[in-house]
């Protein structure tokens, strides 16, 4: 057969069909539409529209094909419009049949048949005659049904025939692909049509068989029955369920005269665990979970497949084409879906609205949960519970105030690090567990408000408990010590603004028994006293001059202090130790002071440094709470994908820099990086340190606590570092940090200078306070000696004449050698002055070593030979240099170096030089007496 012949046969069937459509139009549709309205008559209006379009299409195509024949001798594939207009055909037929199916489902043909209008009645004979061609003894309704669909289906069959002929006729040609494509489309259309009709038929009979109670609610135009447990048996596990019906949009469970329906968009289906039943499917929906139990594997498979297809199509908002097919878009519906839902069941979610991501019938992913009472949660969910990061707003009794929790959640409970801005203007930044403050945290009421305070310390069950620092801004006092159930309880130190401080034992927020009170004038009182530092009861007062007053004290109002006791003026008690008494070291062992904070970091490592857990353990990486305060939406939408510059894989990075040479610079960078766990740890420790020793806490009696704390930090930070390294090497399958251990590196000593800058200002302040008196004396000594000329000073200090570097001096005309000042040992003096330019104790020691070298160099140059000073010579020379260097606060410097230098070098050269410098410092303090008597002896 040639293409022309195929085209001819196409034209013939189209003409026949067109003629037929004309008859339907005349005999059925037009009379029906003119007969006025009846039940569902508007459906026929719609059907007629689609019919007219289809008819028009057919006519139009006849015409163009005829034109083609008359225009040219040979007809080509191009002229067979079916191939090129396949989509148009498909579209028209789908519309027609969809509407037809709705008509069928809603028993439109029965209604039409029963139409009582005059026009229709008078038309009936002609109609019956026409219908007789189709079915002899059926009712009008059945006949209408048949007439309005069968010819269309037949025509589609004809098209299929034409296509197979066309394929044969065209053979291998450029158009064969298009032909094959169109062929397939028409095949699909055919199966679509038969599926639509089957579905309609099933649905129609279902509606007919169900009582009004059901159909009144369930029967809607577009709804189709997809599966019925009467057809393929399943039982629902919820109570007695008689019947399970799967529609294209809902799943219905019928129980007696009741039914429940589930929106398919909110339904998840998966194979249930074995113990539920052999062939069970789990059906999950919001507030709903049950099982469908099938008889066999096959039945379950069919239900599962149909359910999943139905859910997916419901989610897509349109049916597949064809409706069911194993191929094509037969994938399962997405596990994660986004929609809004209002909870109805009793419980904590009653009437709450959840808008967000779901999985298996439960909020899962990101979402917003809003309660009618104004509470709301925005953030991460897992299996229905808050889990991950989330912001929870709770309105307070007074309007416009909210408690705002920005924190990490675990299984619905606040857990890990969080920030809570309470409605009462207090802010908590710290750790939670089971919805309660637990571990380390800072609670602060802004200083601009009434009764402002700040607590930095440990929590247990939402209450202050354990070691903690409390600033009472109103009383201008700081409490450093133990807490229990929100009260000061146990050992504690109170430091006041004036500089006085006391240590004692607290019970239920007040001090009990006797304590030690250290007054700002260095007198010490041991005994009973009140919170406003009034002596009451037995006590012993030691004055700075060593006098003691021991007895019973009382304070009658406005009459001043009364005492009955013994005044001891022997001065035996005078004791440097008392004036510099160090508090707290024994009562608050350094290991327990910030345990709650350090443990979070160690725990984070212990659990394997899971990325999503980092914040929960190590705190937020935002610098300020202002940043965090940015809108909730911001946090909700973007937090996850935030690409933070400078964020690196800690473990990868740590392993790349474990060599001793790169370790230092690595650690340095880590400490400066607010995103790095080590940087965060340092930042947090700095806050804790400042909370204790800054401002009011700058008290000389706390020096030892502070310095041992800094050293402890270095040790713990090193421990944390090793923890990371250990984990990283484990992951890499490398031997753990062996190189590092064999190198003999003293980790904490390497860390200390790197973290010291963070603590230095506060720590140095303590050293300064501690040495205030000595530094004053030293300063006087320096001022006194500074007046001497170089020659006089060398002479006074007993520097051996050989070593006087006067040869060095180039004098101007007006200068006399004996009168110059500040011209000797300049290189050494300049060098020593650098002592205050660094915070690193080791660097300070290096400066000292260099100073020593410079002295030796100056003298070797002078004498022209190697110089190695003996002790007899070294001290006078060093005295000279120290005097000329005029370093401020030398006592504080020396003590700091001594406390923080690498203890493994003790006894060595550095220790020796430091001791020599300490000697000079001690001597200069006493110098005034010597100096004056020396002058006296010189003058005489």
């Amino acid at each position: 057969m040639s293409i022309a012949e195929v085209a001819t046969s196409l034209l013939r069937t189209e003409e026949t069909f067109s003629a037929y459509l004309a008859r339907i139009n005349n005999v059925i549709l037009q009379p029906l539409l003119q007969s006025g309205s009846f039940e569902n008559s508007d459906l026929f209006l719609l059907l007629n529209n689609h019919f007219q379009v289809l008819w028009g299409l057919t006519e139009e195509n006849c015409r163009t094909l005829k034109e083609a024949f008359s225009a040219s001798e040979s007809v080509s594939v191009q002229d067979v419009y079916l191939v090129w207009k396949a989509d148009l055909f498909l579209d028209r037929y789908i519309q027609y049949f969809s509407t037809f199916a709705t008509c069928a489902v809603l028993q439109g043909f029965e209604h039409a048949a029963k139409n009582k209008s005059e026009v229709w009645k008078s038309h009936k004979p002609a109609l019956q005659q026409f219908l007789a061609d189709f079915s002899l003894d059926a009712s009008i309704a059945v006949a209408l049904h048949t007439v309005l669909h069968k010819p269309f289906r037949d025509q589609l069959q004809q098209y299929s025939l034409i296509f197979s002929k066309l394929e044969g006729a065209a053979g291998q040609c450029p158009e064969s692909e298009a032909i094959a494509d169109a062929t397939q489309k028409f095949a699909k259309l055919l199966s679509f049509v038969s599926q639509v009709l089957d579905e309609a038929c099933l649905t129609r009979s279902l509606w007919k068989s169900l009582g009004h109670k059901f159909t009144d609610v369930l029967c809607i135009a577009e709804r189709r029955l997809l599966e019925d447990s009467r057809n393929l048996t399943v039982y629902a596990s919820t109570g007695r369920s008689d019947r399970v019906l799967l529609f294209n949009d809902i799943l219905v469970l019928i129980q007696g005269s009741n039914f429940r329906s589930l929106d398919l968009k909110l339904v998840w289906v998966d194979v249930a665990e074995r113990d539920v039943g052999k062939y069970a499917l789990r059906i999950a929906a919001p507030e709903e979970e049950f099982f469908l139990l099938a008889k066999d594997l096959k039945a379950r498979a069919v239900w599962q497949w149909k359910l999943n297809q139905a859910v997916r199509q419901a989610l897509n908002g349109k049916r597949d084409f064809p409706l069911w097919s194993r191929d094509g878009d037969g994938s399962d519906p997405p596990h994660c879906r986004h929609f809004s839902f209002t909870f109805r069941a009793e419980g904590r979610l009653k009437n709450a609205v959840y808008d967000g991501e779901w999985c298996l019938g439960r909020p899962h992913g990101k979402g917003t949960l809003t309660w009618p009472d104004g509470r709301n949660y925005v953030g991460d969910f897992k299996e229905g519970l808050a889990h991950g990061f989330g912001i929870y707003l709770v309105p307070c009794v007074s309007e416009d105030h909210y408690d705002c929790y920005k924190c990490h959640w675990q299984e619905g409970k606040m857990s890990g690090y969080g920030i809570c801005e309470y409605g009462n203007e207090t802010v908590y930044k710290g750790y939670f567990k089971d919805d309660m403050r637990q571990g380390f945290g800072i609670l602060e009421k802004a200083s601009s408000t009434k009764h402002s305070f700040k607590y930095t310390g440990h929590w247990e069950n939402d209450k202050r408990s354990g070691y903690g620092i409390w600033d009472d801004k109103e009383r201008a006092e700081r409490y450093i010590g133990m807490w229990h159930e929100d009260q000061r309880h146990g050992a504690g130190i109170v430091v006041t603004q004036s500089g006085a401080c006391y240590q004692g034992t607290f019970h239920s927020d007040t001090m009990v028994g006797s304590g030690t009170l250290l007054l700002e004038d260095d007198s010490v009182y041991e005994g009973n006293f009140t919170a406003d530092l009034t002596f009451v009861g037995k006590g012993k007062l030691t004055f700075p001059n060593g006098f003691t007053l021991e007895g019973t004290f009382s304070n009658r109002s406005s009459q001043g202090l009364h005492t009955q006791g013994i005044l001891n003026t022997s001065g035996e008690q005078q004791d440097e130790h008392m004036a510099k008494l160090q508090l707290g070291q024994k009562e608050f062992p350094v290991e327990m002071r910030w345990e709650g904070l350090l443990n979070q970091f160690l725990e984070y490592i212990r659990l394997g440094c899971q990325g999503d857990m980092e914040e929960a353990f190590t705190g937020f990486h935002v610098q300020t709470s202002k940043e965090l305060r940015k809108s909730q939406e911001y946090l909700f939408c973007q937090r996850e994908n935030e690409e933070v510059p400078g964020k690196v894989d800690v473990l990868e990075d740590i392993i790349a820099h474990q060599e001793e040479e790169t370790l230092q610079s690595y650690l340095e960078r880590a400490f400066q990086n607010s995103l790095h766990p080590l940087g965060k740890l340092l930042k947090a420790l700095t806050l804790a340190f400042q909370a204790t020793y800054s401002t009011i806490g700058a008290n000389k009696h706390l020096l030892n606590m502070a310095q041992e704390e800094v050293k402890h930090y270095a040790q713990k930070i090193w421990e944390v570092y090793l923890g990371f390294l250990h984990l990283a090497s484990e992951r890499k399958g490398q031997a753990y940090a062996e190189d590092l251990e064999n190198s003999g590196l003293n980790g904490p000593s390497a860390v200390l200078p790197l973290i010291l800058p963070s603590f230095y200002p506060d720590l140095f302040m303590l050293y300064m306070l501690y040495h205030e008196k000595e530094d004053d004396l030293y300063c006087q000594g320096i001022v006194d000696l500074s007046q001497e000329t170089d020659v006089k000073l060398l002479e006074f200090l007993d520097v051996r004449k050989h070593f006087w570097p006067l040869k060095d001096l180039t004098l101007t005309k007006h200068q006399r050698r004996s009168l110059v000042k500040d011209r000797c040992f300049l290189s050494a003096t300049d060098c020593l002055r650098n002592l205050i330019t660094t915070v690193d104790p080791q660097e300070k020691l290096d400066i000292l070593q260099k100073t020593y070298d410079e002295i030796a160099k100056t003298i070797s140059r002078l004498l022209g030979e190697e110089f190695n000073p003996s002790m007899d010579d070294l001290l006078p020379l060093l005295m000279y240099v120290v005097t000329r260097a005029r370093i401020q606060r030398l006592g504080a410097e020396l003590h700091l170096i001594r406390d923080l230098m690498d203890p493994t070098t003790s006894g060595g050269m550095y220790d020796f030089l430091l001791t020599a410098l300490e000697s000079c410092y001690a001597l200069i303090q006493k110098e005034i007496q010597y100096h004056q008597s020396w002058h006296a002896s010189q003058d005489s």
Partner: protein, 195 residues
Amino acid sequence: MMAIRELKVCLLGDTGVGKSSIVCRFVQDHFDHNISPTIGASFMTKTVPCGNELHKFLIWDTAGQERFHSLAPMYYRGSAAAVIVYDITKQDSFHTLKKWVKELKEHGPENIVMAIAGNKCDLSDIREVPMKDAKEYAESIGAIVVETSAKNAINIEELFQGISRQIPPLETHENGNSGTIKLGKQTAQTTRRCC
């Protein structure tokens, strides 16, 4: 692997008794009658084997001048041993030695090893302090005693060997070095590994 132990040793005694000369002899095996001011030694080290350990002596000399005497505590602080020197030709220097011992007992580190050196034994013909007195005194305070001569290199090595022997051996558990070296506590003896 041999453990090195660092032992701080300070020298005490009257000026002129030969403290610096003893150090010089011990460390550099050198003695100069007219001791040059340019080859002094204020801090020196020398390592000697002792059993299966190495002892590294960190030797701190002290200044002789009177005005510096009050500083002595800074120098003997943290010492494992003190060498207290007197001049056998000067009774006064023996008297000063006793004062040093007393001070060490009161203010010195606990368990400090004390070694008494009666120096300039080459000048025994002008001796003022009988050997017996020194022996008895040393015994009474539980100290080592030897008569030495820095000049003729007599008993100098022995003096330090004597100290080594008095140092208690290392406790084994200190060896378990797990990367958490304690910061803080000043110890008289620090341990390091060599090789």
